[in-house]
C-alpha cells in the first residue's frame, strides 16, 4: 500500500485502562518521552471495558489504527479483566484479519504504571506502522455497494 498522500496524518485511538496503562501514559508524559500527537488516549476503567464495538466504531468513523493497553496479565487491578479482554481482542483481531483488514491496524499492548518508556516506545512503533499502512480505506467501506 503506497502512501500517496504526503500530508497523511493518521487518526489513532488508544484505549488505556485507568490503573496501569493510563498511568504509564502519564509517566511517559512526566518523563517527557515523546510520541506522535496522532495518538489520542481514551481512559477506561479496565481493558475489559473495551467493547469490540468501540473499536469497530472508531474505524467506521475514520480511525486509521486502534490500540488497546491494559495491565500485564496477572496484574489486572480487577484481577481478571485483562484476561477476558485478551480473548475478546484476539478473536476480534482475527476476524478483522479474516475479512481482509490489515492486522497492523489493531494492537494490544500490556503497559504497567511503571512503564512510561514502554508506553512511548509502543506508541512510536504503532504510529510508524500505521504510517506504513497508510489511510484506512477498507474498514470504513466494508459494505459499499459494488
Amino acid at each position: 500500500m503506497s502512501i500517496e498522500n504526503k500530508n497523511f496524518r493518521p487518526k489513532i485511538v488508544a484505549f488505556c485502562c485507568n490503573w496501569c496503562s493510563y498511568a504509564g501514559a502519564d509517566l511517559a508524559g512526566s518523563s517527557r518521552l515523546s510520541y506522535p500527537a496522532d495518538v489520542k488516549v481514551i481512559r477506561v476503567p479496565c481493558s475489559c471495558r473495551v467493547n469490540p464495538m468501540f473499536i469497530l466504531r472508531a474505524f467506521e468513523k475514520g480511525a486509521d489504527g486502534v490500540i488497546m493497553c491494559g495491565c500485564h496479565p496477572g496484574d489486572c487491578h480487577y484481577s481478571t479483566g485483562n484476561y477476558y479482554a485478551r480473548r475478546r481482542m484476539t478473536l476480534l483481531f482475527s476476524m478483522l484479519d479474516y475479512i481482509g483488514v490489515e492486522n497492523g491496524r489493531t494492537r494490544v499492548e500490556w503497559v504497567s504504571a511503571a512503564e512510561g518508556v514502554k508506553f512511548s516506545d509502543t506508541m512510536n512503533s504503532f504510529v510508524e506502522k500505521i504510517y506504513s499502512l497508510g489511510e484506512n480505506v477498507r474498514l470504513g467501506d466494508l459494505r459499499c455497494r459494488s
Binding site: 467506521e60 485478551r86 479474516y98 459499499c144
Partner: protein, 324 residues
C-alpha cells in the same frame, strides 16, 4: 412420519404435553414452516421431511412461558441449540418434552434450483422413512431426478453427528451425511491475501439487504431487544445506509454469538440473498478451538464458555499477525 404423529397424539391425549411444536406443510412442497399444534385433530397438517430444516429450539423460549409442557421435535443438530439455551436460562427444560427426531440430511431448494430444476409441483424421496438416495421431482416440464446428497444444505455435509444431545425419547434412524470438513472453507479464505479476502467479503456482504432474517432465526440471537434496535450504543437502525451497524452488522452479530453459536447453520439457510453467513461464526469457532481448546457450544449445559473463561497462558492478540 405417521409414527411421530401418532406418538404426538398419544402425548397430547394423555395430558403429558399441552401442545406440539413441529412443522406444518406450506403452500409449496418445499417450504414447510414451524408451527404449534394445540390439538390431536390439528396434527393432520404436521409434516416432517427433508425440507424441515428449521431449528425449533428458539421457539421454546416463548413456549417456556406457556402453561404445560410443549412437545418439541428436535433434530440432532437442534439439540445443541436447546442445550445452549438451557445454559443461558432462556428455556425451561421442565417445560419441554423433547422428541429427538432422526435426520438424513436437510435439503436446500436453492441447490435443487441451481441444477436447473424449475416449476416444481411435487417432490418424492424427501420423507424421513424413504431412505431414498434420489429425489424424484415432478415439474411442469416433466420429471427430474436429483441425488439427495447434491441437494443437501451445506451444513449437512459437515454434520456434527447423529447423536441427540438432549431428549426424552428418540424416533427415526438418522443417516450419516458428513462428507466434508467443517473448517475447509474457512481455511481456504484464511489463506487468501488481504485484498482477496476483502474482495470476497465485500462481494458477499454487499448483497445484504438487512432483512434481519439471520438474526431472527438465530437461536443465539435471542435477546429481548437486539443492540441494533437499542439506542444504547447509538447503533439503532437509522435510514442512513452508511450508518455504523450497516457495515459492521454481521461482524458484530458474529461476535455477539461467539462462543455461543452452535453452528446450526440457520443464518445461511434463511438468508434470501444466499450470503454464507456461517463463515463468520465458523471462523470464531475455529479460532476458539485452535487457541483455547476444542469447544462445541451446546455440547452440555454447564461448561464455561470460551469468552467467559481464560487461562494465564492464553495467546496474545499479536498471534493473529504471527499465524500469517
Amino acid at each position: 412420519m405417521q409414527e411421530l404423529i401418532n406418538r404426538a397424539k398419544e402425548l397430547l391425549n394423555d395430558g403429558t404435553v399441552a401442545r406440539v411444536l413441529g412443522w406444518k406443510a406450506g403452500d409449496l412442497p418445499y417450504n414447510p414452516e414451524p408451527a404449534f399444534f394445540e390439538s390431536a385433530e390439528s396434527l393432520k397438517d404436521f409434516v416432517y421431511n427433508g425440507f424441515c430444516g428449521a431449528n425449533l429450539s428458539k421457539y421454546m423460549i416463548e413456549a417456556s412461558k406457556l402453561e404445560g409442557k410443549t412437545l418439541v421435535c428436535l433434530k440432532p443438530c437442534d439439540t445443541y441449540s436447546f442445550n445452549q439455551l438451557i445454559k443461558e436460562h432462556r428455556v425451561d427444560r421442565e417445560k419441554a418434552y423433547i422428541i429427538g427426531v432422526g435426520c438424513k440430511g436437510k435439503l436446500d431448494i436453492e441447490k435443487i434450483r441451481n441444477q436447473g430444476v424449475k416449476g416444481i409441483e411435487s417432490i418424492e424421496g424427501a420423507e424421513i422413512g424413504d431412505g431414498a438416495d434420489e429425489l424424484k421431482i415432478q415439474t411442469i416440464y416433466g420429471e427430474k431426478t436429483v441425488a439427495y446428497a447434491d441437494a443437501m444444505l451445506e451444513r449437512c455435509h459437515v454434520c456434527k453427528g447423529k447423536e441427540h444431545k438432549i431428549y426424552d425419547e428418540e424416533i427415526f434412524e438418522s443417516k450419516e451425511t458428513k462428507d466434508g470438513e467443517r473448517f475447509d472453507e474457512v481455511s481456504r479464505i484464511e489463506k487468501m491475501s488481504p485484498a482477496e479476502k476483502f474482495a470476497f467479503f465485500q462481494k458477499e456482504l454487499s448483497k445484504c439487504i438487512r432483512c434481519n432474517a439471520c438474526r431472527n432465526v438465530c437461536p443465539a440471537c435471542s435477546c429481548r431487544k437486539c443492540v441494533f434496535d437499542s439506542n444504547k450504543f447509538d447503533s439503532s437502525q437509522k435510514a442512513n445506509v452508511d450508518s455504523f451497524e450497516e457495515k459492521m452488522f454481521h461482524i458484530i452479530r458474529a461476535f455477539h454469538v461467539a462462543g455461543r453459536c452452535t453452528d446450526c447453520g440457520e443464518c445461511s439457510r434463511v438468508c434470501p440473498q444466499g450470503i454464507p453467513l456461517h463463515l463468520f461464526n465458523r471462523k470464531f469457532i475455529k479460532d476458539i478451538d485452535e487457541l483455547y481448546g476444542e469447544y462445541q457450544a451446546g455440547d452440555d449445559t454447564d461448561s464455561k464458555a470460551p469468552l467467559t473463561n481464560y487461562t494465564f497462558e492464553d495467546a496474545e492478540p499479536s498471534i493473529v499477525g504471527k499465524r500469517g
